[in-house]
């Protein structure tokens, strides 16, 4: 993986100011790099890629990269993506959302996009917090942790993004962390090519709004935490039940190739037209 940075620079919008607006060490930048490498690796042209982002720090990514980019409304990126993909199935649609974006305000769209099996790649950048608005709790904020709206500790339970996506029938369901960029590249490359709805959850640190309030000394500590607490899903499955607690499995959880909704719709049109 040499010379990748030069490659990435080629895909960035040269009219935008760099470094980007993200805080030092924010994993969102690593994800952007991975998207670019995956697209390049697949040999896709910039024109056939549509990057659709929600609102949040994660959503800001869209402005920086030289694809067709759409910065949508908070939580609704998947609805725009559904329209784009159905209107032009040839386009490769990559959707970037924060955890609040995808699962709090956008939860309904997320479960239905998965159920409908629309052919897009849904990236959930899970930093366990609302980064952009200043650190309020989201639907993935862990129980008992602190945020500006849970100053006495969070009483609610959090979503497990992978289990949620599996429950909704998504074709491809996977998880990685911002520290596991190579795995991220692999998952994204797979997801972008796979038919139907494909989920890549990326655990990514937000030291500014989450780490500081939750006893991390700096962002590097948060990355170290990922290293310590994640485990390949294959190994995780071999662990006895009692040893699984606190371990976060990463890797591929579902890998189906059922046809996407847009593909099935195309088949329906064919059928109706051949009857005429």
């Amino acid at each position: 993986m040499v010379e990748t940075t030069k490659l990435i620079h080629e895909y960035l919008r040269h009219s935008k100011k760099f470094p980007h607006v993200y805080c030092p060490g924010c994993g969102h930048g690593i994800v952007l790099g991975s998207i670019i490498r995956s697209v390049h690796h697949l040999g896709l042209s910039k024109d056939e890629v549509v990057l659709i982002a929600g609102i949040g720090c994660s959503g800001r990514m869209a402005v920086y990269v030289d694809f067709n980019t759409i910065h949508t409304t908070h939580g609704r990126a998947l609805t725009f993506a559904t329209g784009v993909k159905l209107a032009n199935p040839k386009l490769k649609v990559i959707v970037v959302m924060g955890d609040g974006d995808a699962l709090s305000i956008g939860g309904n769209h997320f479960i239905h996009a998965a159920r409908r099996n629309i052919g897009v790649t849904a990236l959930v950048l899970n930093n366990n917090i609302y980064g952009m608005t200043g650190g309020q709790s989201s639907s993935t904020t862990p129980e008992n942790s602190y945020s500006t709206t849970t100053p006495y500790g969070h009483l609610e339970r959090d979503f497990d993004v992978v289990n949620l996506a599996l429950g909704c029938g998504a074709n491809f369901v996977s998880r990685t962390t911002a520290l596991h960029a190579q795995l991220m590249d692999k998952l994204l490359t797979k997801a972008i090519e796979n038919p139907g709805f494909n989920v890549v959850e990326v655990l990514t640190p937000c030291f500014t709004q989450y780490g500081r309030k939750n006893k991390f000394k700096n962002v590097v500590e948060m990355y170290s935490w990922y290293r310590k607490n994640t485990i390949k899903v294959e190994k995780y499955k071999e662990l006895p039940e009692e040893k699984r607690a606190g371990k976060i499995p990463i890797g591929v959880f579902s890998d189906k190739q059922e046809p996407g909704f847009e593909e099935k719709y195309g088949q329906l049109r064919e059928k109706l037209r051949s009857k005429k």
């Binding site: 993986m1 040499v2 010379e3 990748t4 940075t5 030069k6 490659l7 990435i8 620079h9 080629e10 895909y11 960035l12 760099f18 470094p19 980007h20 993200y22 805080c23 030092p24 060490g25 924010c26 994993g27 969102h28 930048g29 690593i30 790099g33 991975s34 390049h40 040999g43 896709l44 042209s45 910039k46 024109d47 911002a178 520290l179 960029a181 190579q182 590249d185 700096n218 962002v219 590097v220 990355y223 170290s224």
Partner: protein, 85 residues
């Protein structure tokens, strides 16, 4: 990708480096350190094993790792890319 020590050139672009410390802390060869401005710099180039970790994980695209023997034709990837615009 080079595997042996001393076969790669690591470059940090200080203008883009935000000093997050990812590269400094996770580099297996302890190649990188912070300078007095809090930016990463290459302190021990010869220790680099060319694993590429720093390049993949710099959130600001501020590090490049290039194999020494490829130095002369390092623009390859850029040319390839232009054809696909």
């Amino acid at each position: 990708m080079a595997k042996k020590k001393g076969e790669t050139i690591v470059t940090v672009y200080p203008a883009w480096c935000k000093g997050c410390g990812i590269c400094v802390n996770f580099c297996p060869g302890k190649v990188l350190e912070f300078d007095e401005h809090g930016k990463a710099y290459v302190a021990r180039m010869e220790e680099c094993i060319g694993c590429g970790f720093c390049e993949l994980h710099c959130p600001d695209f501020a590090i490049s790792v290039v194999a020494k023997d490829k130095k002369d034709n390092k623009n390859n990837s850029e040319h390839k890319d232009e054809g696909k615009n």
